[in-house]
Each structure stands twice: as structure tokens, then as C-alpha cells.
Symmetry: C2
Subunit: 630 residues, 2 copies
């Protein structure tokens, strides 16, 4: 007769400091189901993509600098090529959004159409790129602050780590994605950028756009490289970081109001158009003001102070909103990473604990893992965007490729097998196919041009991740098989129950344990390991008095070992037992009032448990004996 005890009334559990820090626990039923429109949707999902304009131009220039400042004129054509790529990726994703109205991240599309291995590759690529998104965005945010206030340059690493800590904290409290608060930074950033570009182009038109005053020194290599195809492709690779974040909307379709695919699609189109405009505009003006890529001052900062002729209020506004949107971009990863890792964990490729929602309904463990990993990267790379960039975006483009390839196969399958194939499936297949081929090419260009600078790390890490995912999956599968009740038949009958009671002395704790042991079975043997014959003799006398007739075995230990003779004895008893005979070791255990006092007692119970854990059919029971100090 199963009974359910609902813990009525639903009192949230008492955990004062946690509540003060993270807010009161939320019941499962509290999960929000609010949806958002296009305007808010743009604000929520665009921060990752738009924020990359804060560093993409600079990273193009940095590569071109190897061939001297004259090569900077190639930046704009390269940006143009990247925008063409953006156009194709956007159209491809429009199709995905309509095909997967419940959310079509690369992982899900790959799993549905390309099989588990491809899905795991996509998962590994996305998870590692979420980590890099946090590291790169926050490092760039710290660089923007340091550009506005050069005194901060020295503290950029602790600054960046503090920003990560802040975003982590906000996410552990649980952020309502639908909050209007999210719209503010995005639209402020957009407004400031529109003003900057507007003023800049107007000045350019009337011939009053000046050159950057007092630019940071250009760090060129001693010998100038010639402007090779490799260099241009390398610059192109760096610039495509502008495309990171474009996939965000396809993951979050369910957040949109109905008709959600339509709304999400329109939002994606708007986002790409804005991204293209900002990126081209910034690159154009950076070229015509002679901005210099530098670790000390960002290109955005140079552009803004040239456009506004000084570090006035408008300049500070640009820097503040740029920093803010970069932090918001990191925040996007903080919702993407835990969600994806929960999906992968539910599929059995990551530790199952990642699927548990914490007291604030967020996947807290995933959040903590992301925070630690990205903070470690920031420290290791000293919060330098330029040093992080070679690792970045390979994962994004790999997942683009897998997603588009999956869509291509999907169209083919649907076109061939369905009775009424979707209209124009051949064209759609061709489009997704083109997207897949182009992004695959870009991925390979990345791997080649950035290999030496650090991309090799990613090429090692991704297969390692996939391998780990598969190993975890194999373990869960074997576990499930071994625990399965299929072919289990009737459980065997309980047979004899034998109890062994190791004792070091005869005292109240021992007698408590003896009483417990006798309640379990009539077949109890007390065992004492003797280091000192005289002491064993005293113990034997005491046992005669208090042992209630229970058999006592004394094991001599000439090498003064406590655990080993006991284990030998238990093993010999275990080896002799009949089928279905259960063996329980009852160990008296002191529990001192304060935990430091544990170091004053030999932790025999603990060691015994650890040593016997792997032996079949032996149960170790500790009978705690609590000390109550006055």
C-alpha cells in the first residue's frame, strides 16, 4: 500500500545564508512560462553576436599589422567577405528555425540527422566555445574599461575574474530571461553605436574626420611579412569571430511568442542586418581614422575618441555600453552552457548530476563548472583577447557545419521518403548544403592559419571531450544493464547471517555495538587484533565478564598492523561461506562532539569500510557511539 507524504504546507527549506545570498528556494511549480516578442527577443539573444563587433575588427588589424600599416586597407574587403558568409549562415539558420520550432541547436540537429558521434562532436565544440565566449567577452570588457581608465590596465586579470564572479552570482540566483532589464544594455549599446557611426560617417562625408590622436604604439615584428594569402586568410579567420553568437536564437525559439518560428526568424534577420552594419561601419571608420590594434587601448576606444574628439561624455557612454554588452554576452553563455550540458547529461554523456536543477531552478552545477573553466582560462591567458582568439570560433564553426550538414540530410530524407515532400526542398537542401560546405571550409582555414598560435589545443581537446563523453555513456549503459531486472527471476532466499565485530577494547561503545550485532544475528564473533600479549590478556578477562558469551578471536599481529590481520581474517571467513550467506562487519565508531577531535581517534571504521567496499556480499555497518562532552 504505497503512501505519499506531501510535505504540506510547502515550506521552503531553512538555509539562512544561502537564502540571503541567492534568494528563497523556488518550487518546481514556480518555473516561468512567459514568452517574449521580437523586440525583447532581439535584446535577449543578440548581445552575444553584436558584442563581437567590439573585438572582431581589432583582431583583423592585428594580423595585418605583420605586413605593416599599409596592409590595413585590406581590412574592409575582408570584413565584406565575412558579411557575405554571415548572409549565408543566416539564411541557413532561418531554415533550421522553421524546421525545429522546439529549439534546434547544433547538438539536437546533429543528433537527429547525423547520429550520436556527430552530436557529441557538436556538443564538445559548443561547450568549449561557451567557455571561450565567457573568457573572450569578459576579457574584452576588461580591455574596454582599461582603455577608458588606463590605471585599470594593470588589474585587468582580477577585474575580468571579478566580472565572471558577478555574472556567476547573478546566474546562480536565477535570471528571468524574459526580464525587460535585459533590453536596456543591448539597446543602449545599439543607440551609442548608431550615434558613433552616424557622427563618424557625417564627419567623413564633410571631410572633417581626423586621425587618432596619440595612438598606442604599433607592435610590429622586426621583419615585415609579405602580404601573403595565408596572412589574409588568417585575418579573415580572426574576423569571423564576429559571427559567434548568431546561433543563439535557434537554441531559444521556445522563448518567443506564437507564431514562434516566424517571430524568431524575423528577429534573426534583424540581428544579422544590424551585425553586418555595425561590423562594416566600425571596420570602415577604423581604417579611415588610422586606429592601431593594441593591448593597451581597444580600437573601439580609439574610434570613439576620434569621432567625438576627446574623452567626453559621449566617449564614456560608448565605452560603458560596450563593456556592458560584452558582459551580457558572457551571460548568454551562462544560460547556454548549463542547458546544453543538462541535455547531454540526460542523454547519458555527462554526469547525471548536471540535470538537477538547484534551489533557484537553475542548473547550478553547470554554472559553476563554466565559471571555473572560464576563470582559469582568463588567468592562464592573462585576460588577453588576442591570445585567446586563436582558440575561439573553431568550435562555433564546427557546430555550424554539423548543423547545416544535418539540415541538408534532413531535406534529402524528407524529400525522398515523404509522400508529400516539403515545397522547394531541393533549393533548401542546396542552401543548407552551401552553408555546410562554406563553414566547413572556414573551419579548416581556422585550423590551418591559427594552428601554431594555439588552435592545436582545441584540436586535441575536442577529441578528448568526445572520448570522455563516450566513456561516460558506456559506463551508464553497463550500469543500467547490470541493474536491469530483466531475466532477474525471483530473488534468492536469505540464508545464514554471520556477524563479525572487531573490537579494540571493552567499553560502552563496544557493548552498544555488541547489542546491535546480536540483534542482527545469533552468529556473532568478536575479533581483537593484539599488538601486545599482556593487553590481549586483560581484554580477554574483561570480555569474559561483559561479552555475554559471544565468541572472541584474538589475532596476533607481530608487525603491529591493525587493519591487515583483520582483513585477512574477514577474507578467510568470506571465502568459506555458503551461498546466500550474508556477512556483516559491525564496527563500533566513536563520534566526538567536535570534528577536530576525530584526529585523536584511529579511524579504523573508515579504513575498514574503504578496504571492504569492493568485496562482494560483505556489508560494513558502523554503530556510532556519540560522546557528549560536558
Amino acid at each position: 500500500m504505497p503512501e505519499t507524504l506531501p510535505s504540506t504546507p510547502f515550506q521552503p527549506p531553512r538555509r539562512p545564508w544561502r537564502t540571503r545570498l541567492f534568494g528563497r528556494p523556488l518550487a518546481t511549480a514556480d518555473a516561468p512560462h512567459q514568452t517574449i516578442g521580437k523586440g525583447l527577443g532581439l535584446a535577449v539573444f543578440a548581445s552575444d553576436a553584436l558584442s563581437s563587433t567590439a573585438y572582431a575588427t581589432q583582431e583583423i588589424l592585428l594580423v595585418l599589422a605583420a605586413a605593416g600599416t599599409a596592409a590595413f586597407s585590406y581590412a574592409f574587403p575582408i570584413a565584406g567577405a565575412i558579411v557575405v558568409l554571415l548572409l549565408i549562415v543566416t539564411i541557413s539558420y532561418e531554415q533550421t528555425i522553421h524546421a525545429y520550432p522546439d529549439g534546434g541547436g547544433a547538438y539536437i540537429v546533429a543528433r537527429d540527422n547525423l547520429g550520436q558521434i556527430a552530436a557529441q562532436v557538436a556538443g564538445a565544440a559548443l561547450l568549449s566555445d561557451y567557455i571561450l565566449t565567457v573568457s573572450v567577452s569578459v576579457s574584452s570588457g576588461a580591455a574596454q574599461l582599461a582603455s577608458a581608465f588606463p590605471a585599470l590596465y594593470e588589474y585587468r586579470v582580477p577585474l575580468a575574474v571579478s566580472l565572471v564572479a558577478f555574472v556567476t552570482f547573478v546566474n546562480l540566483r536565477g535570471v528571468k530571461e524574459s526580464g525587460t532589464i535585459f533590453a536596456v544594455p543591448t539597446y543602449c549599446f545599439l543607440a551609442m553605436m548608431v550615434v558613433t557611426l552616424g557622427v563618424g560617417f557625417w564627419r567623413y562625408a564633410i571631410g572633417q574626420l581626423g586621425q587618432v590622436v596619440d595612438p598606442p604604439p604599433l607592435e610590429t615584428p622586426r621583419e615585415l611579412a609579405s602580404l601573403s594569402l595565408f596572412l589574409i586568410l588568417h585575418a579573415f579567420s580572426n574576423g569571423t569571430t564576429a559571427l559567434t553568437g548568431v546561433e543563439a536564437i535557434s537554441n531559444g525559439i521556445t522563448a518567443f511568442k506564437e507564431p514562434r518560428s516566424h517571430n524568431a526568424g524575423v528577429t534573426l534577420a534583424w540581428m544579422s542586418a544590424i551585425l553586418a552594419t555595425l561590423f562594416l561601419g566600425i571596420t570602415f571608420l577604423a581604417g579611415h581614422t588610422g586606429a592601431i590594434p593594441s593591448e593597451g587601448e581597444t580600437v573601439i576606444s580609439q574610434l570613439a575618441r576620434t569621432t567625438f574628439e576627446g574623452r567626453g561624455l559621449a566617449y564614456l557612454g560608448v565605452m560603458a555600453t560596450t563593456t556592458l554588452i560584452l558582459v551580457m554576452a558572457a551571460n548568454t553563455a551562462f544560460s547556454g552552457f548549463p542547458r546544453l550540458s543538462a541535455i547531454q547529461a540526460a542523454d547519458g554523456f555527462l554526469p547525471r548530476q548536471l540535470t538537477y536543477r538547484g534551489s533557484r531552478l537553475v542548473f547550478s552545477r553547470g554554472i559553476v563548472v563554466l565559471a571555473i573553466a572560464s576563470a582559469l582560462l582568463i588567468v592562464a591567458f592573462q585576460a588577453s583577447v588576442t591570445r585567446l582568439i586563436p582558440l575561439y570560433a573553431i568550435g562555433v564553426f564546427l557546430s555550424f557545419t554539423l548543423s547545416q550538414a544535418g539540415m541538408t540530410l534532413r531535406w534529402r530524407r524528407m524529400g525522398r521518403s515523404l509522400e508529400r515532400p516539403p515545397k522547394g526542398w531541393r533549393w533548401k537542401m542546396a542552401l543548407n548544403g552551401l552553408g555546410a560546405v562554406l563553414t566547413a571550409l572556414v573551419t579548416m582555414v581556422f585550423a590551418v592559419t591559427k594552428f601554431q598560435e594555439g588552435a592545436w589545443v582545441v584540436l586535441l581537446v575536442l577529441p578528448a571531450f568526445v572520448f570522455a563523453f563516450l566513456a561516460i555513456r558506456a559506463h551508464y549503459r553497463v550500469t543500467a544493464e547490470q541493474l536491469s531486472l530483466q531475466h532477474y527471476g525471483a530473488p534468492p532466499q536469505s540464508g545464514r547471517h554471520r556477524v563479525i565485530l572487531p573490537i579494540s577494547n571493552v567499553h560502552r561503545g563496544t557493548l552498544e555495538a555488541l547489542r546491535y550485532a546480536r540483534a542482527l544475528s545469533h552468529d556473532v564473533t568478536a575479533v581483537h587484533v593484539s599488538l601486545d600479549p599482556a593487553e590481549a590478556e586483560r581484554l580477554r578477562a574483561k570480555w569474559d565478564l561483559w561479552g555475554d558469551g559471544v565468541r572472541l578471536v584474538v589475532l596476533d599481529s607481530p608487525y603491529r598492523l591493525l587493519l591487515e590481520p583483520l582483513l585477512d581474517y574477514i577474507t578467510s571467513i568470506a571465502d568459506e561461506r555458503q551461498p546466500n550467506e550474508t556477512l556483516t562487519i559491525v564496527v563500533p565508531q566513536f563520534v566526538p562532539r567536535r570534528s577536530w577531535q576525530n584526529v585523536l581517534h584511529a579511524q579504523t571504521a573508515l579504513f575498514l569500510r574503504m578496504a571492504l567496499l569492493f568485496r562482494r556480499g560483505i556489508v560494513v555497518t558502523n554503530v556510532p557511539y556519540q560522546l557528549t562532552e560536558p
Copy 2:
């Protein structure tokens, strides 16, 4: 009917890598009972005392340097005063040796005559000084090596730590104190010093003793201090480090051949005489060669290369034997510290585990504690003898004082109470009394003159140690009282035995645990914490099939907590139970084949055990279910 199972034949346990590293385990019966004569005794016990001549002179000069090189002429008179002090301490200890033929360290003498608090103060003083002996001796050894080979100066910290590691390793293998091998370094050092001083004095006599060539630069403060009484007392304090180690023989009387008190006494007299000669000789020659105290080159090194006119074979011999005897001095502490801490642990003032002898019959835990503590000091003080010296010797002189004071009281008690008082007890009392007063004065001079430089640390650490010893003692006493079987009466009868079986799912592991639970009692309740009603329904259906009619309770957990609802339920059951009712929680526990796989499973069993450890009368049993991977 108690039976003894001797593990015949006495096979040493199998532990291959340990045996290879530390040697085969030794049976308790193998403990050596060899005794040694005076010649070997001097070699074994004198290294600590004699080695301090390697740095005592230098540390006197270092203080005097504050008043300019002219003040160096005070070094010899100060050394003379220290030798007078040595004479009195030696005579006092001669009396102790005859009074305590079984070993009369300060701890034992204080415990017998002054009570437990004084004994604990002596224990704290001695233990901390053993640690400092290792740090100072090894640092000085490293400094001697760096004097001979200046390239090593940069590596003196890792060098010193490696020397500590080496001595630790040798001691963990177990050193036969009686080994002739110990005599070699001591007598080599003596021989080399006799030659050095002989040649030095001969050259001085014939007027050919030169000045130190190319001495290290003297680091004097910008403003010269005037030669105050404080300065002289400070120099005196530093110099009395020469007396550390004099007490070693009184601890080790049992190692001597019979008549052991006589033999030990003669050895002590010889040791003191040699120590006085070396110390005065070195100080005299250092003064007349113009040796300069320096971190870069030791005074011994300057003296040796001046005496032997260059860094030839004789010079290298002096440096090698000096380094060797300093390492031997550290080795002395490695036998003293573990032995004293075992005595204190047996008295209940330190964790009892320190009384266990390891597989090589040594107190391995004490050895490891000493090694870690002294290595930390070396790293913290960058292996600088000068920076360590202010902490040193206070403990030694405090223990001298307590030991002499104890002896004084002992003479008085024996003189007054015994029917036949020992001959001349008044004289002996007066002598020990004089020793006590003088060493007490020296201790106070230490505390005052070295206070600012670091002695304050010792004045904080010693009371903290004593406090910790007393807290440990109090805990053991309360434990013993509560475990005592006095007034315990007959154990209560076993009553009802209730079993709670938390389950997360129904699988083979669960059924194994269910079978075990039913073997314990007929009153079994299975409990499931439900995060998801649909899943709970599935579990309930499965339980109907497999649960063998056992009651199932489903606890709703709206806040997605696993442990808290379970603990609440267990607590409510525990609160309702009758007297003598036992409550056992049987927890099914996965045991994966490889330990990394544990991170893939929620460790409910572990957390439950930790949470229930402090509740009276609740026993937690894990029924392990081992997975066997193919």
C-alpha cells in the same frame, strides 16, 4: 571460549613498493637491545652539541657587528661566559643522569617533580626546539656547502629541504642508533677540527696566522649602535646556541652499557670538555683572523681557508665534515622528537596514533610531522641560520630550567622525607638550584634581547602548544569516562528493530538491499523522494511487482531536494520510537569498478551517513552493489 589465531608462520605482510623503499617490515620481537660503550656513545649523542660550534661564533659576531668591527673583540669574553654556563649545566645534568638511570629528559623530570603543567611546558619547549634543531642544523649545513661551492648559494633552500628529506627517509627505514656508522662523521669532524685549531694556534704562536683573504662584505647598519649591555647580552644569547644538544645524553642513558649512569656521566663530561675547547678555539681564531659574519660564507669556512692558506684538500675536509655533523645533529632530533611525542601521546596529551610504531619499528608518524614542520620553517625563513636563531634555544633553556628546578625539588623531598637521605643532598640541591636560576635568567635574557627579532613567536607558540595538549587530554579523559563500564549495569534488552530503505529506483541493487533489510527485521519501510510525479508513479508500479509487499512511502519534494525530505522523515520516525527501539537505515550503494566513475553517481549514501552520524541510536548501513564492467 576465546581463541587466539597466531598468523603462523610469521610472514611479513606483502607491500612491494614500501618494502623496496623502506626495507622489509620488522616484527615487534626484532627490537634491538644492544647497548654501547662510552666511545660510541660520545659519537652518537655528541653530534647535536658539537655541531652547534659551526654557527655559534658566527651568530655572536653578527650581533656585535652592529657596533662595528671593533666590538668583535668582545666575542672571546662572551664565549668564556658561555663556557662557564656550560660547566654549571653539565654538573647539573651529571646529577640528573645518576638520579634517572632510565632516562631523565626534562619532560620526565618535570612530570615527576613539578606536576603535569610544568611537564607540558617542558614538552612544548622540547618539541618546538627539536623542530628548530633540524631547521637550523640543516640550514647551517647548506650554508657550509654554499661557502665551499658558492654556486650552490642560490639553491640553498631546495638543498636544505633535500637534506631534510634524506634524513627523514633514513629515519623511516629505521636507524640502529648503536651502529658504528654514526661514529665516523663525529670522529672525522673532531679530527678535522683538532687539526684546524692545532695548525691555527701553531701559526698564531709563530706569528704566521694571516688575515682572511678577500672576506665577504660586512653588512653593518647605516648608524653604528653603541656597545650597550643589551648588545652584549644579545650576543651572549645568540652564542648560547652552542649549548643546545647538551641534554641529549640524559635522554639516552638506557643505550649505554652497564654501569650505564656512570658511563653516561663520563661521556657527558667528555662531551662538554670537547665542546668548550672547540667553541673557545674557534672564537679565538675567528677573532684573530678577522673573520666576518656573513650569509654568503660561514665563519668556519673563512677560518679554515685562512688556517690552511687556501681552498685545498684540508679546507674541503673541514667543510665536508662540518656539513656531515650538522646533518647528524638533525638526525638526533629525528630520534628525539618522535620518542618524546610518543611519551606525551601515551600520557594522553597528543594524538594516540603517535604511540604506534610503524612497520620498521620507528614512530613513523612523529618522524613525518617533524619533517614537514622543519621543512616549512626552512622555506619560510629561506634557510637563513641568522633569521632562525632568534626562535632557537629559548625552548632548550626553558627545558633546562624546568629540569633543574625539578631536580632541586627532588633533592629537597628526598632529603626531608627519606629515612636515610642521600649523601650530600644539600650540596646537590644547591647545585641544581644554581643551574635552575642561571638557566632561568638566560631564558629571560633570550626573551628580552631576541623578542623583536622573532622570539615573540615562540612566546605565543609555546602557550598555544600547552593549551592544545591540555585540550587533547581533556577530550581523552571525557571519552574514557563516558566509555567506562563502571556503573554500567546490565545492557538494556534489544527491542523492536525498524529498518528504513531509501530507494531512488527499482533495480538489482535496490532488491539486494531489500533482501538484506528483510534479513535484519520484519519491519521494513522503503522511502522514495519524488522530484517528478510521473516518475514516482512508474516507480510505484515497479515496486508493486518487485517490492515483495514491503511498505513504500513516497515523499514529494517540491524544492527538488533529495537529502532534506529524507532526513526530515527519518527524524520524525526516530522521534516517535519507543525506548530500546533500534533504527537502521539501509542504503543501496553502487560501487563502480573504477573510482573516477564515482563522480557519475550521486553519493547519497555518503551524504546520508555524514548527516546522521551525530544522531543517537540511528545506524546507517550501506549495502554495496558492485558493478563488474566487461
